[in-house]
Point group: C2
Chain length 239, copies 2
Protein backbone atom coordinates (compact mmCIF):
# COMPACT_ATOMS: atom_id res chain seq x y z
CA UNK A 1 0.00 0.00 0.00
CA UNK A 2 2.75 2.40 0.91
CA UNK A 3 4.45 4.20 -1.89
CA UNK A 4 8.18 3.57 -2.07
CA UNK A 5 9.90 6.91 -1.80
CA UNK A 6 13.34 5.72 -2.81
CA UNK A 7 14.52 7.17 -6.06
CA UNK A 8 12.06 10.02 -5.87
CA UNK A 9 13.35 13.60 -5.85
CA UNK A 10 13.60 15.29 -2.47
CA UNK A 11 10.65 17.60 -2.96
CA UNK A 12 8.53 14.61 -3.88
CA UNK A 13 9.57 12.67 -0.80
CA UNK A 14 8.61 15.58 1.43
CA UNK A 15 5.33 15.87 -0.46
CA UNK A 16 4.56 12.19 0.17
CA UNK A 17 5.41 12.55 3.87
CA UNK A 18 3.19 15.59 4.41
CA UNK A 19 0.40 14.18 2.27
CA UNK A 20 0.37 10.98 4.32
CA UNK A 21 0.35 12.95 7.57
CA UNK A 22 -2.69 14.86 6.36
CA UNK A 23 -4.63 11.84 5.08
CA UNK A 24 -3.72 9.88 8.22
CA UNK A 25 -5.02 12.65 10.44
CA UNK A 26 -1.73 13.73 11.99
CA UNK A 27 -2.76 17.16 10.77
CA UNK A 28 -6.45 17.96 10.60
CA UNK A 29 -8.44 20.73 8.97
CA UNK A 30 -7.32 24.15 10.09
CA UNK A 31 -3.99 22.97 11.46
CA UNK A 32 -0.93 24.95 10.50
CA UNK A 33 1.94 22.94 9.07
CA UNK A 34 5.48 23.57 10.33
CA UNK A 35 6.83 26.72 8.72
CA UNK A 36 8.96 26.48 5.63
CA UNK A 37 12.10 27.19 7.62
CA UNK A 38 11.21 24.52 10.17
CA UNK A 39 10.64 21.99 7.39
CA UNK A 40 14.03 22.99 5.97
CA UNK A 41 15.72 22.22 9.28
CA UNK A 42 13.81 19.00 9.92
CA UNK A 43 14.42 17.49 6.50
CA UNK A 44 17.75 19.15 5.75
CA UNK A 45 16.47 20.86 2.62
CA UNK A 46 16.52 24.41 1.31
CA UNK A 47 13.51 26.66 1.06
CA UNK A 48 12.95 26.42 -2.71
CA UNK A 49 12.80 22.63 -2.38
CA UNK A 50 10.41 22.78 0.57
CA UNK A 51 8.28 25.30 -1.29
CA UNK A 52 8.16 23.00 -4.31
CA UNK A 53 6.67 20.28 -2.11
CA UNK A 54 4.17 22.69 -0.55
CA UNK A 55 3.19 24.08 -3.96
CA UNK A 56 2.31 20.57 -5.07
CA UNK A 57 0.12 20.11 -2.01
CA UNK A 58 -1.58 23.42 -2.75
CA UNK A 59 -2.29 22.40 -6.34
CA UNK A 60 -3.92 19.21 -5.16
CA UNK A 61 -6.01 20.98 -2.57
CA UNK A 62 -4.47 19.51 0.57
CA UNK A 63 -3.36 22.84 1.95
CA UNK A 64 -3.84 26.56 1.42
CA UNK A 65 -1.11 29.08 2.05
CA UNK A 66 -1.61 32.51 3.55
CA UNK A 67 1.02 35.18 3.19
CA UNK A 68 2.58 35.87 6.56
CA UNK A 69 0.65 33.16 8.38
CA UNK A 70 1.54 29.70 7.14
CA UNK A 71 0.29 26.60 5.38
CA UNK A 72 -3.19 25.68 6.57
CA UNK A 73 -4.51 22.16 6.14
CA UNK A 74 -7.61 22.14 3.97
CA UNK A 75 -10.71 20.11 4.50
CA UNK A 76 -10.34 16.68 2.96
CA UNK A 77 -12.72 15.84 0.14
CA UNK A 78 -15.81 14.05 1.40
CA UNK A 79 -17.33 12.87 -1.84
CA UNK A 80 -15.81 10.85 -4.63
CA UNK A 81 -12.93 12.79 -6.07
CA UNK A 82 -13.14 11.63 -9.64
CA UNK A 83 -12.57 15.14 -10.94
CA UNK A 84 -8.95 15.00 -9.94
CA UNK A 85 -6.45 12.56 -11.37
CA UNK A 86 -5.96 9.12 -9.86
CA UNK A 87 -3.61 8.81 -6.95
CA UNK A 88 -4.38 12.21 -5.53
CA UNK A 89 -7.67 13.15 -3.96
CA UNK A 90 -9.46 10.23 -5.48
CA UNK A 91 -7.56 7.78 -3.33
CA UNK A 92 -9.45 8.79 -0.24
CA UNK A 93 -12.60 6.84 -0.83
CA UNK A 94 -10.67 3.88 -2.14
CA UNK A 95 -11.62 1.49 0.63
CA UNK A 96 -15.26 1.58 -0.35
CA UNK A 97 -14.61 1.42 -4.08
CA UNK A 98 -14.79 -1.88 -5.93
CA UNK A 99 -14.55 -2.32 -9.65
CA UNK A 100 -15.87 -5.00 -11.94
CA UNK A 101 -15.02 -5.67 -15.57
CA UNK A 102 -18.07 -5.70 -17.79
CA UNK A 103 -16.34 -6.05 -21.13
CA UNK A 104 -12.80 -7.40 -21.09
CA UNK A 105 -10.26 -5.49 -23.16
CA UNK A 106 -10.75 -6.12 -26.87
CA UNK A 107 -9.23 -4.53 -29.94
CA UNK A 108 -11.79 -2.55 -31.93
CA UNK A 109 -11.95 0.28 -34.42
CA UNK A 110 -12.74 3.64 -32.87
CA UNK A 111 -16.34 4.74 -32.54
CA UNK A 112 -17.33 7.14 -35.29
CA UNK A 113 -18.04 9.88 -34.40
CA UNK A 114 -15.78 9.91 -31.36
CA UNK A 115 -16.13 12.26 -28.38
CA UNK A 116 -12.74 13.86 -29.03
CA UNK A 117 -10.89 14.56 -32.22
CA UNK A 118 -8.43 11.79 -33.03
CA UNK A 119 -5.14 11.94 -34.88
CA UNK A 120 -4.43 9.90 -38.02
CA UNK A 121 -2.08 7.64 -36.08
CA UNK A 122 -4.75 6.93 -33.48
CA UNK A 123 -7.43 6.16 -36.06
CA UNK A 124 -5.20 3.83 -38.08
CA UNK A 125 -4.06 1.79 -35.10
CA UNK A 126 -7.49 1.10 -33.66
CA UNK A 127 -8.22 1.04 -29.95
CA UNK A 128 -8.38 -1.25 -26.97
CA UNK A 129 -11.89 -1.12 -25.61
CA UNK A 130 -13.13 -2.06 -22.17
CA UNK A 131 -16.18 -1.47 -20.02
CA UNK A 132 -16.23 -1.38 -16.26
CA UNK A 133 -18.60 -0.78 -13.40
CA UNK A 134 -17.44 0.72 -10.14
CA UNK A 135 -19.31 0.23 -6.93
CA UNK A 136 -19.28 2.58 -3.99
CA UNK A 137 -20.56 1.00 -0.79
CA UNK A 138 -21.73 -1.92 -2.94
CA UNK A 139 -23.95 0.26 -5.10
CA UNK A 140 -23.15 0.73 -8.79
CA UNK A 141 -22.13 4.37 -9.18
CA UNK A 142 -19.87 4.56 -12.21
CA UNK A 143 -20.29 2.88 -15.56
CA UNK A 144 -17.28 3.70 -17.64
CA UNK A 145 -16.12 2.92 -21.15
CA UNK A 146 -12.41 3.21 -21.83
CA UNK A 147 -10.54 3.66 -25.08
CA UNK A 148 -6.78 3.15 -25.30
CA UNK A 149 -4.93 3.57 -28.61
CA UNK A 150 -3.54 0.22 -29.72
CA UNK A 151 -0.04 1.58 -30.16
CA UNK A 152 2.79 -0.42 -28.67
CA UNK A 153 0.61 -2.14 -26.05
CA UNK A 154 1.69 -5.82 -26.24
CA UNK A 155 -0.44 -8.46 -24.51
CA UNK A 156 -2.79 -5.83 -23.14
CA UNK A 157 -5.99 -7.69 -23.96
CA UNK A 158 -4.87 -10.76 -22.01
CA UNK A 159 -3.98 -9.00 -18.80
CA UNK A 160 -5.98 -9.50 -15.67
CA UNK A 161 -7.79 -6.41 -14.54
CA UNK A 162 -9.99 -7.46 -11.66
CA UNK A 163 -9.29 -5.35 -8.59
CA UNK A 164 -6.43 -3.60 -10.31
CA UNK A 165 -6.54 -0.01 -11.34
CA UNK A 166 -6.29 0.63 -15.04
CA UNK A 167 -3.77 3.37 -14.37
CA UNK A 168 -1.70 1.06 -12.17
CA UNK A 169 -1.37 -1.45 -14.98
CA UNK A 170 -0.47 1.25 -17.45
CA UNK A 171 2.21 2.55 -15.12
CA UNK A 172 3.75 -0.74 -14.07
CA UNK A 173 3.57 -2.66 -17.35
CA UNK A 174 3.87 0.07 -19.92
CA UNK A 175 5.56 2.95 -18.05
CA UNK A 176 2.67 5.21 -18.93
CA UNK A 177 1.98 7.98 -16.44
CA UNK A 178 -1.12 10.15 -16.44
CA UNK A 179 -0.10 13.79 -16.41
CA UNK A 180 -3.47 15.52 -16.54
CA UNK A 181 -6.28 15.90 -19.00
CA UNK A 182 -9.48 17.59 -20.01
CA UNK A 183 -13.11 16.72 -19.66
CA UNK A 184 -16.58 17.62 -20.84
CA UNK A 185 -19.45 17.31 -18.40
CA UNK A 186 -23.14 16.94 -19.13
CA UNK A 187 -26.34 15.92 -17.43
CA UNK A 188 -28.24 13.38 -19.52
CA UNK A 189 -31.11 10.92 -19.20
CA UNK A 190 -30.25 7.28 -18.62
CA UNK A 191 -30.88 5.08 -21.64
CA UNK A 192 -31.73 1.40 -21.30
CA UNK A 193 -28.08 0.27 -21.12
CA UNK A 194 -27.05 2.82 -18.52
CA UNK A 195 -30.21 2.21 -16.53
CA UNK A 196 -29.48 -1.49 -16.28
CA UNK A 197 -25.85 -1.10 -15.32
CA UNK A 198 -26.47 1.57 -12.70
CA UNK A 199 -29.75 0.11 -11.40
CA UNK A 200 -31.86 3.16 -12.14
CA UNK A 201 -34.94 3.82 -14.21
CA UNK A 202 -34.70 4.86 -17.83
CA UNK A 203 -34.76 8.65 -17.93
CA UNK A 204 -33.05 9.04 -14.58
CA UNK A 205 -30.65 12.01 -14.61
CA UNK A 206 -27.08 10.82 -15.08
CA UNK A 207 -23.83 12.73 -14.92
CA UNK A 208 -21.83 12.13 -18.07
CA UNK A 209 -18.09 12.81 -18.14
CA UNK A 210 -16.09 12.60 -21.33
CA UNK A 211 -12.41 12.62 -20.52
CA UNK A 212 -9.16 12.76 -22.37
CA UNK A 213 -6.03 11.95 -20.37
CA UNK A 214 -2.58 13.25 -21.17
CA UNK A 215 0.29 10.85 -20.63
CA UNK A 216 4.07 11.03 -20.53
CA UNK A 217 4.09 9.54 -24.07
CA UNK A 218 3.71 12.51 -26.41
CA UNK A 219 0.68 12.09 -28.64
CA UNK A 220 -0.60 9.16 -26.61
CA UNK A 221 -3.95 9.82 -24.94
CA UNK A 222 -6.44 7.68 -23.05
CA UNK A 223 -10.15 8.33 -23.36
CA UNK A 224 -12.99 7.56 -20.97
CA UNK A 225 -16.71 8.03 -21.11
CA UNK A 226 -18.07 7.83 -17.60
CA UNK A 227 -21.72 7.67 -16.51
CA UNK A 228 -22.35 8.47 -12.84
CA UNK A 229 -25.39 8.00 -10.70
CA UNK A 230 -25.24 11.03 -8.42
CA UNK A 231 -28.53 10.38 -6.67
CA UNK A 232 -26.95 9.64 -3.30
CA UNK A 233 -23.32 10.54 -3.79
CA UNK A 234 -22.14 13.73 -5.40
CA UNK A 235 -18.93 13.97 -7.34
CA UNK A 236 -16.40 16.17 -5.65
CA UNK A 237 -13.64 18.38 -6.95
CA UNK A 238 -11.35 21.23 -6.02
CA UNK A 239 -10.17 24.03 -8.25
Amino acid sequence: MNMPTQGLPHYRKLYEILRKQITDGVFVEGDILPSENELCTIHKLTRPTVRHALDTLVNEGFIRKHHGKGSIVHKLPKGIGILSIAGTTSALGKLNLRSEILVKPIVKPWNDPFMFKLSETEINSGCIYMERIRYYNDKPIFYDINFIPNINMPRFTSRIFENRSLFDILRKNYQIEIKGGEQKIRAIEANITIAQHLSVKVGHPILHLERKFDTNRPGFFIYSSIYCNTKEQAVFGIF
Copy 2:
Protein backbone atom coordinates in the same frame (compact mmCIF):
# COMPACT_ATOMS: atom_id res chain seq x y z
CA MET B 1 -10.18 45.08 -21.43
CA ASN B 2 -6.43 44.79 -21.08
CA MET B 3 -5.11 43.94 -17.68
CA PRO B 4 -2.69 46.51 -16.29
CA THR B 5 0.56 44.70 -15.59
CA GLN B 6 2.19 47.48 -13.61
CA GLY B 7 2.75 46.59 -10.00
CA LEU B 8 2.55 42.90 -10.71
CA PRO B 9 5.53 40.68 -9.89
CA HIS B 10 7.82 39.80 -12.77
CA TYR B 11 6.71 36.19 -13.08
CA ARG B 12 3.12 37.36 -13.27
CA LYS B 13 3.88 39.88 -16.00
CA LEU B 14 5.52 37.18 -18.09
CA TYR B 15 2.56 34.91 -17.40
CA GLU B 16 0.15 37.56 -18.66
CA ILE B 17 2.24 38.15 -21.79
CA LEU B 18 2.46 34.47 -22.72
CA ARG B 19 -1.19 33.84 -21.82
CA LYS B 20 -2.28 36.66 -24.09
CA GLN B 21 -0.09 35.40 -26.92
CA ILE B 22 -1.74 32.00 -26.62
CA THR B 23 -5.33 33.25 -26.41
CA ASP B 24 -4.67 35.70 -29.26
CA GLY B 25 -3.34 32.93 -31.47
CA VAL B 26 0.27 34.05 -31.69
CA PHE B 27 1.00 30.54 -30.52
CA VAL B 28 -1.41 27.79 -31.52
CA GLU B 29 -1.92 24.24 -30.37
CA GLY B 30 1.22 22.16 -30.66
CA ASP B 31 3.55 25.14 -30.96
CA ILE B 32 6.64 25.13 -28.81
CA LEU B 33 7.19 28.23 -26.71
CA PRO B 34 10.65 29.84 -26.60
CA SER B 35 12.90 27.84 -24.31
CA GLU B 36 13.30 28.89 -20.70
CA ASN B 37 16.75 30.28 -21.41
CA GLU B 38 15.46 32.23 -24.38
CA LEU B 39 12.66 33.70 -22.26
CA CYS B 40 15.31 34.63 -19.69
CA THR B 41 17.28 36.54 -22.29
CA ILE B 42 14.25 38.18 -23.88
CA HIS B 43 12.70 39.40 -20.64
CA LYS B 44 15.90 39.84 -18.62
CA LEU B 45 14.82 37.37 -15.94
CA THR B 46 16.40 34.34 -14.33
CA ARG B 47 15.27 30.77 -14.88
CA PRO B 48 13.45 30.26 -11.58
CA THR B 49 11.33 33.32 -12.34
CA VAL B 50 10.62 32.19 -15.89
CA ARG B 51 9.78 28.71 -14.60
CA HIS B 52 7.37 30.22 -12.08
CA ALA B 53 5.48 31.85 -14.93
CA LEU B 54 5.46 28.65 -16.98
CA ASP B 55 4.33 26.59 -13.98
CA THR B 56 1.33 28.87 -13.63
CA LEU B 57 0.45 28.35 -17.29
CA VAL B 58 0.77 24.59 -16.81
CA ASN B 59 -1.55 24.66 -13.81
CA GLU B 60 -4.17 26.49 -15.82
CA GLY B 61 -3.88 24.14 -18.76
CA PHE B 62 -2.48 26.56 -21.32
CA ILE B 63 0.71 24.59 -21.88
CA ARG B 64 2.23 21.18 -21.14
CA LYS B 65 5.91 20.71 -20.52
CA HIS B 66 7.97 17.78 -21.73
CA HIS B 67 11.34 17.03 -20.21
CA GLY B 68 14.05 17.67 -22.74
CA LYS B 69 11.70 19.04 -25.38
CA GLY B 70 10.02 22.23 -24.30
CA SER B 71 6.75 23.90 -23.43
CA ILE B 72 4.00 22.85 -25.82
CA VAL B 73 0.88 24.95 -26.25
CA HIS B 74 -2.21 23.01 -25.27
CA LYS B 75 -5.52 23.02 -27.04
CA LEU B 76 -7.67 25.88 -25.86
CA PRO B 77 -10.90 24.95 -24.11
CA LYS B 78 -13.83 24.86 -26.52
CA GLY B 79 -16.75 24.64 -24.12
CA ILE B 80 -17.64 26.83 -21.21
CA GLY B 81 -14.88 26.69 -18.67
CA ILE B 82 -16.89 27.15 -15.54
CA LEU B 83 -14.96 24.45 -13.75
CA SER B 84 -11.94 26.70 -13.49
CA ILE B 85 -11.91 29.95 -11.60
CA ALA B 86 -12.91 33.21 -13.17
CA GLY B 87 -10.28 35.08 -15.12
CA THR B 88 -8.50 32.00 -16.33
CA THR B 89 -9.92 29.54 -18.81
CA SER B 90 -13.44 30.79 -18.31
CA ALA B 91 -12.64 34.08 -19.95
CA LEU B 92 -12.46 32.53 -23.38
CA GLY B 93 -16.14 32.35 -24.12
CA LYS B 94 -16.77 35.71 -22.53
CA LEU B 95 -17.88 37.47 -25.66
CA ASN B 96 -20.91 35.27 -26.00
CA LEU B 97 -21.80 35.36 -22.32
CA ARG B 98 -24.42 37.78 -21.03
CA SER B 99 -25.74 37.87 -17.50
CA GLU B 100 -29.02 39.10 -16.10
CA ILE B 101 -29.97 39.72 -12.49
CA LEU B 102 -33.07 37.80 -11.45
CA VAL B 103 -33.09 38.70 -7.77
CA LYS B 104 -31.16 41.79 -6.75
CA PRO B 105 -28.87 41.39 -3.75
CA ILE B 106 -30.86 41.23 -0.51
CA VAL B 107 -29.85 40.41 3.03
CA LYS B 108 -31.37 37.15 4.23
CA PRO B 109 -30.76 34.45 6.82
CA TRP B 110 -28.97 31.41 5.45
CA ASN B 111 -30.97 28.54 4.01
CA ASP B 112 -31.31 25.70 6.49
CA PRO B 113 -30.00 23.15 5.70
CA PHE B 114 -27.25 24.71 3.66
CA MET B 115 -25.21 22.93 1.01
CA PHE B 116 -21.97 23.43 2.93
CA LYS B 117 -21.25 23.51 6.62
CA LEU B 118 -21.22 27.08 7.93
CA SER B 119 -19.24 28.59 10.77
CA GLU B 120 -20.92 30.30 13.74
CA THR B 121 -19.73 33.67 12.49
CA GLU B 122 -21.25 33.08 9.10
CA ILE B 123 -24.59 31.93 10.49
CA ASN B 124 -24.89 34.86 12.90
CA SER B 125 -24.16 37.51 10.30
CA GLY B 126 -26.65 36.33 7.70
CA CYS B 127 -25.98 36.41 3.99
CA ILE B 128 -26.38 38.52 0.91
CA TYR B 129 -28.50 36.62 -1.55
CA MET B 130 -28.80 37.08 -5.28
CA GLU B 131 -30.03 35.14 -8.27
CA ARG B 132 -28.76 35.44 -11.79
CA ILE B 133 -29.22 33.95 -15.21
CA ARG B 134 -26.42 33.71 -17.69
CA TYR B 135 -27.01 33.42 -21.40
CA TYR B 136 -24.68 31.82 -23.87
CA ASN B 137 -25.43 32.75 -27.47
CA ASP B 138 -28.70 34.26 -26.17
CA LYS B 139 -29.89 31.00 -24.68
CA PRO B 140 -30.28 30.66 -20.90
CA ILE B 141 -27.61 28.18 -19.82
CA PHE B 142 -26.82 28.97 -16.18
CA TYR B 143 -29.22 29.76 -13.38
CA ASP B 144 -27.17 30.53 -10.30
CA ILE B 145 -27.94 31.43 -6.73
CA ASN B 146 -25.21 33.17 -4.80
CA PHE B 147 -24.65 33.50 -1.07
CA ILE B 148 -22.15 35.97 0.36
CA PRO B 149 -21.63 36.30 4.12
CA ASN B 150 -22.83 39.70 5.30
CA ILE B 151 -19.57 40.47 7.05
CA ASN B 152 -18.03 43.86 6.40
CA MET B 153 -19.77 44.34 3.04
CA PRO B 154 -21.05 47.94 3.18
CA ARG B 155 -23.55 49.11 0.56
CA PHE B 156 -23.38 45.80 -1.23
CA THR B 157 -27.11 45.48 -1.78
CA SER B 158 -27.31 48.84 -3.53
CA ARG B 159 -24.56 48.25 -6.04
CA ILE B 160 -25.28 47.88 -9.70
CA PHE B 161 -24.56 44.45 -11.02
CA GLU B 162 -25.79 44.45 -14.60
CA ASN B 163 -23.05 43.44 -17.01
CA ARG B 164 -20.50 43.40 -14.22
CA SER B 165 -18.95 40.25 -12.93
CA LEU B 166 -19.69 39.43 -9.31
CA PHE B 167 -16.01 38.66 -8.78
CA ASP B 168 -14.99 41.94 -10.37
CA ILE B 169 -17.09 43.90 -7.90
CA LEU B 170 -15.76 41.89 -5.00
CA ARG B 171 -12.21 42.56 -6.12
CA LYS B 172 -12.52 46.24 -6.94
CA ASN B 173 -14.83 47.38 -4.14
CA TYR B 174 -13.95 45.01 -1.33
CA GLN B 175 -10.45 43.79 -2.21
CA ILE B 176 -11.68 40.21 -2.14
CA GLU B 177 -9.81 37.83 -4.41
CA ILE B 178 -10.95 34.32 -5.22
CA LYS B 179 -8.13 31.89 -4.52
CA GLY B 180 -9.79 28.58 -5.37
CA GLY B 181 -12.53 26.44 -3.99
CA GLU B 182 -14.35 23.16 -3.97
CA GLN B 183 -17.47 21.89 -5.63
CA LYS B 184 -20.00 19.10 -5.62
CA ILE B 185 -21.52 18.02 -8.91
CA ARG B 186 -24.78 16.19 -9.51
CA ALA B 187 -27.19 15.45 -12.30
CA ILE B 188 -30.76 16.27 -11.26
CA GLU B 189 -34.18 16.73 -12.80
CA ALA B 190 -35.35 20.27 -13.45
CA ASN B 191 -38.09 21.40 -11.07
CA ILE B 192 -40.65 24.00 -12.09
CA THR B 193 -38.45 26.95 -11.11
CA ILE B 194 -35.37 25.71 -12.91
CA ALA B 195 -37.43 24.67 -15.92
CA GLN B 196 -38.86 28.16 -16.29
CA HIS B 197 -35.55 29.96 -15.91
CA LEU B 198 -33.67 27.69 -18.29
CA SER B 199 -36.52 27.23 -20.78
CA VAL B 200 -36.67 23.46 -20.49
CA LYS B 201 -39.34 20.98 -19.53
CA VAL B 202 -39.82 19.87 -15.95
CA GLY B 203 -37.77 16.70 -15.46
CA HIS B 204 -35.13 17.70 -17.98
CA PRO B 205 -31.67 16.59 -16.82
CA ILE B 206 -29.77 19.48 -15.30
CA LEU B 207 -26.19 19.75 -14.13
CA HIS B 208 -26.09 21.02 -10.57
CA LEU B 209 -22.89 22.53 -9.17
CA GLU B 210 -22.59 23.47 -5.53
CA ARG B 211 -19.51 25.57 -5.04
CA LYS B 212 -17.60 27.06 -2.17
CA PHE B 213 -15.00 29.68 -3.05
CA ASP B 214 -11.93 30.43 -0.96
CA THR B 215 -10.92 34.08 -0.76
CA ASN B 216 -7.93 36.02 0.46
CA ARG B 217 -9.93 36.89 3.60
CA PRO B 218 -9.37 33.98 5.97
CA GLY B 219 -12.67 32.39 6.98
CA PHE B 220 -14.57 34.31 4.32
CA PHE B 221 -16.17 32.10 1.69
CA ILE B 222 -18.60 32.67 -1.15
CA TYR B 223 -21.16 30.05 -2.06
CA SER B 224 -22.91 29.37 -5.34
CA SER B 225 -25.52 26.91 -6.43
CA ILE B 226 -25.47 26.69 -10.20
CA TYR B 227 -27.94 24.92 -12.47
CA CYS B 228 -26.73 24.30 -16.01
CA ASN B 229 -28.58 23.23 -19.12
CA THR B 230 -25.99 21.06 -20.85
CA LYS B 231 -28.25 19.94 -23.67
CA GLU B 232 -26.33 21.78 -26.35
CA GLN B 233 -23.25 23.04 -24.59
CA ALA B 234 -21.10 20.87 -22.33
CA VAL B 235 -19.21 22.25 -19.40
CA PHE B 236 -15.48 22.04 -19.88
CA GLY B 237 -12.61 21.60 -17.49
CA ILE B 238 -8.98 20.63 -17.28
CA PHE B 239 -7.29 18.72 -14.49
